[in-house]
Amino acid sequence: MFKGIKDWLLNLKNEGVEQVPDETKREFLKIGLIITGVFAGGSLFSVVSKVAEGLESSEELHKSYPYKPHYSMVFKIDRCIDCELCMEACRKTNHVPDYGWRTMILRRYDESALDQKIMFMPILCNHCNNPPCVRACPTKATYKDKKTGIVRMAYYKCLGCKTCMVACPYNARYFNEEKHAVDKCDFCWESRLSKGMTITACAEACPAGVRIFGDLSDPGSEVYKLVHQLAKPVWVLKPETGAKPNVFYTIS
C-alpha cells in the first residue's frame, strides 16, 4: 500500500503556483501564522512560568544535587590576598597563555573606606547548573558533563564564534589562539581530576585557604558544610541570571 503512495508521490508533477487560487494561498499563510503564534505564545508562557524557578529559595535549590560527584568551589573571600599563586598554578597546569585566563582575581578599591581599603575577589567558571554558554553554543562544543556537572569544552567542535563568551554572565571564557578554540576552567578535569587527583591546582596552591573544592552532594565534605549553614552569609554571583552557579562565596 505504502509503495503505491511512494510511486504516486514521485510521479506527481509540479503544477506551478500560477494555477493556485488566492484563497488557497491565503489559507496556507494563515496556517503558518497560527503555527508561529502557538510557538510565540508558548515561549511567552514559559518565560512567565520560569520566574518562580529563577527566584527559587536557596533551601529548595540545595535540596537535591543532580550530579555525583557534584563538584563545587567555595571562596572564603575575605582571606584572599592577591598573591596570584592560584593563577600561576593554573597557567602551569593547564597551559594557559599570557593573554588568557581561567581564573582571575578582581580588586575593589575604595579610598574613602574606613580602615581596610582593598578587597580581592577571585573568580572562575561557575559551572552553572543552568549554563547560558551551553545554550548559546551552536555546535555543542561546550557541554555540561552528565556525571560531574563540569562545564567542559570539546575543542575540536569549537568554531571560534565566541557566542559563549558573550553569553557567559561571569566572563569566564577566553579565545585561545593556539587551540583556535574558546578555553575555560574545567575544574582541572583534564589535567588533574581525571587522573585521580581530588583537588584543583588553584585550590592546592592557595596559601590562605581561600579556595575550598569538593563534592557538594557529599554531606561529609567541607564545601557541603560551608554551604549548608546559616551562621555565616553564603552568596553566589549574579543570581538574577538564573544560571544557578556552583561557585559560592562566604567569609571566614
Binding site: 584572599c80 590576598i81 592577591d82 582575581i105 580588586r107 580602615d115 581599603k117 578587597m119 580581592f120
Partner: protein, 148 residues
C-alpha cells in the same frame, strides 16, 4: 668565476639570516620574561622617616608603610628598630621564620598586631596584603620617579 661569486653571495645571505633570527630570538627570550622583583623600596618623602616597603616573600605584595606608622600614627623609630626589624629594608624577608605563624606568636608585625595594640595579624588581611596588583602599582610609581 661567476658561479663561485654566486655561491659566496648565497652563503653570506644565509649567514645574515641566521644571525638576525638568532639575535631576535635572544631578544625575545630576554624581553618576554620580566624579572621577578625582589621587593620594592619606595621613598614617598624623607619626612616619614622611612620608605614604603613592599615585601615579596613568602607571598608577593605585602606593604609596610612608614608614612602610616611614623607619619600618621607618630611612632618613634625605636618602637621597631632594631628589636623587631633591622634598619636595612627588606632584610627580614630573608629570614626563614618571616611568615604568618611567627607573627601570631608575637614576633615582627605581630608584636603590635595582636588584637590589643592594633588589629590582629589574622584579621583584615588585605590591609597589609596589597597583592600583586598593589606590588605592580608601586613598581610603576618607582619607575616613573626614577625617570624624573
Amino acid at each position: 668565476m661567476r658561479k663561485v661569486k654566486i655561491l659566496i653571495g648565497t652563503f653570506i645571505l644565509l649567514l645574515g639570516f641566521t644571525g638576525i633570527a638568532f639575535v631576535s630570538e635572544k631578544n625575545k627570550v630576554e624581553s618576554g620574561k620580566p624579572k621577578e622583583p625582589q621587593g620594592v623600596i619606595y621613598y614617598e618623602s624623607e619626612q616619614f622617616g622611612g620608605p614604603e616597603i613592599v615585601y615579596v616573600k613568602p607571598v608577593r605584595g605585602v606593604l609596610f608603610s612608614h608614612k602610616k606608622h611614623v607619619g600618621e600614627l607618630g611612632f618613634p623609630c625605636e618602637s621597631c628598630h632594631n628589636s623587631l626589624f633591622e634598619m636595612q629594608a627588606l632584610k627580614s624577608q630573608e629570614n626563614p621564620d618571616f611568615k604568618m605563624e611567627t607573627l601570631y606568636q608575637g614576633k615582627y608585625c605581630g608584636a603590635c598586631h595582636n588584637g590589643q595594640a592594633a588589629f590582629a595579624s589574622n584579621t583584615k588581611c588585605a590591609t597589609c596584603h596589597i597583592g600583586v596588583k598593589g606590588l605592580k602599582e608601586y613598581m610603576r610609581k618607582l619607575a616613573s620617579k626614577e625617570k624624573k
